[in-house]
């Protein structure tokens, strides 16, 4: 999977690059809009990450040019502005998703994965961690073959954990993804829901999948300890 990152802020570009490389993506980067557009037109990228405020050519114009040239590559926009009008303008110019700075990298990763999955048809809809299975189409969850009934919030929480399997997620990151923005700041609600989720998917079974990382947050993985 090859991704083009167009971001003029070097330090922002750096941690995105490092993080995506660790996830196994190949990353090219450009520091201004014009270079970004040229690279995007020449190379067959699977996805573009574009900052809006770029020198030479703005992110919005870059996407518009790209779409004019009949490129359908998925684009995630990074923006320091969050006005509704901006969002609408971006979607109209052809962006597929947007993230407001300061975003969490885990969230960027989940969005990227979602867009890449949309592009490829025959990807399996089932996520697996150890003996836990999640069907993303039917929202059915099984562990060790036993069907587990989850509320929709519990499901969203589990799905987010599993999509970011192996990554440590802070309570704020979880709030940002699973709840809407009105819940921003209510981090204690995450603890309550994680406890509920554990009671359903971990406690009746031998091996614990969800782990608490002290003073950070939660993670899910098939710990081989």
């Amino acid at each position: 999977m090859r991704i083009l990152l167009v971001e003029d802020e070097e330090k922002v570009a750096r941690f995105i690059r490092v993080g995506l490389k660790a996830e196994g993506f190949a990353i090219d980067s450009a520091r201004d809009g014009r270079t970004g557009l040229q690279l995007a037109l020449v190379n067959p990228y699977d996805l573009l990450i574009v900052d809006l405020m770029l020198p030479e050519l703005s992110g919005t114009d870059l996407i518009r040019e790209l779409r004019k040239k009949n490129s359908h590559v998925p684009v995630v926009v990074l923006t320091a502005r969050d006005a509704i009008a901006d969002k609408i303008a971006n979607f109209e110019s052809g962006a597929d998703d947007y993230l407001t700075k300061p975003f969490s990298f885990a969230e960027l990763l989940v969005r990227i994965k979602a867009l890449l999955r949309r592009g490829t048809v025959n990807r399996s809809n089932v996520l697996r961690i150890a003996d836990l299975e999640i069907d993303r189409l039917t929202h059915q969850v099984r562990r060790n073959g036993v069907a587990i009934k989850l509320t929709s919030k519990e499901y969203s929480l589990l799905e987010y954990l599993v999509l970011s399997a192996g990554r440590v997620l802070s309570r704020t990151m979880i709030i940002e993804h699973v709840w809407d923005q009105s819940f921003e700041g209510l981090t204690n609600i995450v603890d309550v829901y994680v406890r509920q989720l554990r009671a359903k998917i971990d406690e009746p079974f031998g091996k614990k999948l969800i782990r608490t990382i002290r003073s950070v947050g939660y993670t899910i993985s098939d710990f081989a300890e």
């Binding site: 660790a22 509704i84 990298f105």
Partner: protein, 467 residues
Amino acid sequence: MNTRSIRFNLISRFAALLLLVTVTFAGFTYWSVRRYVVDVVGGSMLHRAEQIGRTLLRGGPADESYIANEIETRYAPELNDRFIRITRADGSVLYCSRNPADRSFTPANVPYPKAKTLKSELREESPSDEAKMLIAAVPYSSDQGGGYLVEAGTSLAGANRVMEALLWTLAAGLFSLLVLTVIGGWMLMNRALSPVHNITVAAQDITLRDLRRRLPVPQTGDEIANLCVVLNKMIARLQESFDNVSRFTADASHELRTPLTIIRGELEEMIQRSDLNEQIRSALGSLLEEVERLVAIVERLFALSRLDAGEAQIERVKFSLSELAETTLEQMSLLAEEKSISLQFKTKDPVQVEGDRTRLKQIIVNLLDNAIKYTPDGGAVELSVWSRNGTAFLEVKDTGPGIPESALPHVFERFYRADEVHSRDVEGAGLGLAIVRSIASAHGGDVSVSSEVDSGCRITVRLPRAK
């Protein structure tokens, strides 16, 4: 009636002053007219008494019947309602007129002067319950010796009737003058104060949110117009400083975004590394938590400054507030369950509002979160939605410790906390209620709080109801 209004004050004072002046004037008029009447009547009585003395008593001891006859012929006192009496020095009566035709007095009852009369004088007598009499007494000594006292008098009833009529006229004039003054003053004050009233109404409409508006300046060039111009300049300065503050907040939070993105991203990536020892990971985790807290504060400040600037394009969608409240309450029910708090929802009819669903949901979340946070375990939190007269009400009531009265006026201020003990709460940062107020007023509503220490607190949001 507002007894402290300029209108009331001016009119009542003016009326009092006018009353004082006119009553004095009327009193003076009454007094001088009465004096004049008494002078005229008295003068004529004196003249008559002197005349009688001069003409009838000159020729020595007079014959009673002659004098009676002369007086009847010349003065006809009974027909003219006059009183005439002549007394000798030894006190015997030489002549006394009979009852007058109008029976205004009885001559026989008219008392004698108390002291010996040495010179002409006027006195008033009340021989009966009837009207007073004015009597002139003139001592007369005839050439042949022998002194007489000639008295000529008349009832004052006629004069009193005139005076009474005058009194009534004065009183009626005074009363109508007073009424006219109050009515006229009222109308004049209305005319003079109506621009002030207009200014008050216009100024009430100018809130922090629309400082761009100005007071209408009347085209009169008078003091009121000057006042409007000065007030408008003041509003302009207010707007400028207010704009500066919101622009600063917007710019500052915007400038903070990029560094925060970098710190957040780097920390997040570092925490993922598996070769970290526990101590470092937990230090990084705590740093990340603080950065996320900063991010939340910046987001909230930014949202507030946008709401203030009125540029937050509030979406106007019609939806059911009761339904939104109920679903939000359900989403937060686990938080209440954690603390064994009973979370109740009360509504009668579905209440429709028009506005930004996400932001209004934020109001509900913030209020419920606050209530749950401050209510001790086992307490109760109640959310109710109702509507009355075109206004939608949303109220959250809790059984927490309440808010001290001194803190009540400040709870909607930014970064204000009623309770210093909780100041390290990551969540609120003291902006929750400020956001509630900004969102409510951006929707054309408002929010109020009432609380008594130890009996919980009640926060009520009012929003215009959708038509």
